[in-house]
């Protein structure tokens, strides 16, 4: 059973709302399964459903026991809260990010920005390099295209031959 004073954390592999939703459905399925098992009682040969990698990680990180109802309930509450209230960042890159890249990025984001921040990645090949970050109300362009646009006057000066 998890310590009561410890705050639950999301594993780095759980990035977006879809992952959280998938986890939530999985916990609910597990709940349902255990409830039905408790009703049956006589059948001891029932096999536990196979859990996903996300489920394994979140249970391991938060020191939860899926067979304990209180842990499952706290997990459901936590995931529901994350799903509804966690901030979401949309980041676009010029190529599909690798898992290692997203892991490093999520590590930094969870550490520096918000411990429950979720990330949704996108693809914008025309930005050249860097990334574009969009929150609910702001837009941050850290791309090479934006950098070039800002430095256009320098380029025009060079084209003109000015020093």
């Amino acid at each position: 059973m998890a310590p009561k004073d410890k705050k639950m954390v999301l594993p780095l592999s759980v990035m977006g709302k879809q992952d959280v939703g998938r986890l939530l459905r999985e916990v609910e399925t597990l709940n349902e399964f255990l409830r039905q098992s408790a009703i049956r009682q006589s059948d001891n040969t029932v096999k536990m459903p196979r859990t996903s990698r996300f489920m394994d990680e979140i249970v391991q990180i938060n020191e939860l026991n899926p067979l304990v109802e209180a842990d499952r309930k706290s997990l459901v509450d936590f995931l529901s809260t994350v799903k509804t209230k966690a901030p979401v960042l949309h980041m676009s890159f010029n190529a599909d990010p690798s898992p290692l890249f997203t892991q490093k990025l999520m590590t930094w984001l969870r550490k520096e920005i918000h411990p429950q921040v979720l990330l949704q990645t996108g693809l914008q090949p025309n930005i050249g390099a860097g990334c574009v970050v969009r929150t609910d109300s702001k837009y941050f362009d850290f791309s090479m295209r934006h950098h070039f646009t800002e430095k256009r006057s320098v380029l025009i000066q060079k084209i003109k031959g000015e020093k």
Binding site: N94, V133, T135, I156
Partner: protein, 202 residues
């Protein structure tokens, strides 16, 4: 009054009466005599102015008339020639004078028209020259503006072309993992703004 005087008066009256009677009678007889006189006169006239004398007078009159006619014709011819000559001279002088006056007026009119035309042409040339200068100036300004605009467009387009080329050429060559440090650096720079936005939004 005595009888003598009366007698005398009566005698006078009688004498007067007799005189009247006599005069009356005498007057009655005179026309006969005048007719005779007239007849006699005619006879005398016929006798003096006979046909020969009349022919003579007629010839003389004819000659005299011809002479007078001839002289008058000559005089008339001379006068006519003189008048014609004078008239010709007068007409010549008048026509010459009128023609000279008309020529002077005509020349003056031509000179005025020429001056007017020259003035008009000069003004037109001046206006055209001013308009040409204005148009030239405007054209130069427009060309300069257009040139500057084209240069600006060219430079901006060239900048876009260079940017697009660099992005296309370099973008695929830079691995995303190599960009991580750069991305985290940008995120770190704008961390507070992102946190503030997330916090306010939440």
């Amino acid at each position: 009054m005595n009888s003598g005087q009366l007698f005398l008066i009566l005698g006078s009256l009688a004498a007067a009466t007799a005189s009247f009677v006599w005069m009356a009678l005498r007057t009655t007889v005179t026309p006969v005599k005048e007719a005779d006189i007239l007849q006699d006169s005619e006879h005398d006239v016929e006798h003096i102015f006979n046909n020969e004398f009349r022919e003579l007078l007629r010839n003389r009159g004819r000659l005299l008339f011809e002479k007078i006619i001839s002289e008058n014709a000559m005089f008339l011819q001379q006068d006519l020639r003189l008048t014609t000559s004078q008239l010709n001279e007068y007409m010549k002088d008048e026509i010459t004078k009128k023609l000279q006056e008309e020529f002077i007026k005509y020349e003056q009119s031509i000179a005025d028209a020429k001056n007017l035309a020259v003035d008009s042409i000069t003004k037109t040339q001046k206006i055209m020259e001013e308009q040409r200068q204005q148009m030239s100036q405007q054209l130069t300004e427009e060309i300069t503006k257009e040139k500057a605009r084209l240069m600006t467009n060219f430079e901006e387009n060239m900048a876009d072309i260079v940017n697009h080329y660099v992005l296309a050429a370099v973008g695929d060559q830079i691995d995303l993992n190599d960009q991580l440090e750069y991305i985290l650096s940008d995120l770190e720079t704008n961390k507070q703004a992102i946190i503030k936005d997330i916090t306010d939004g939440a």
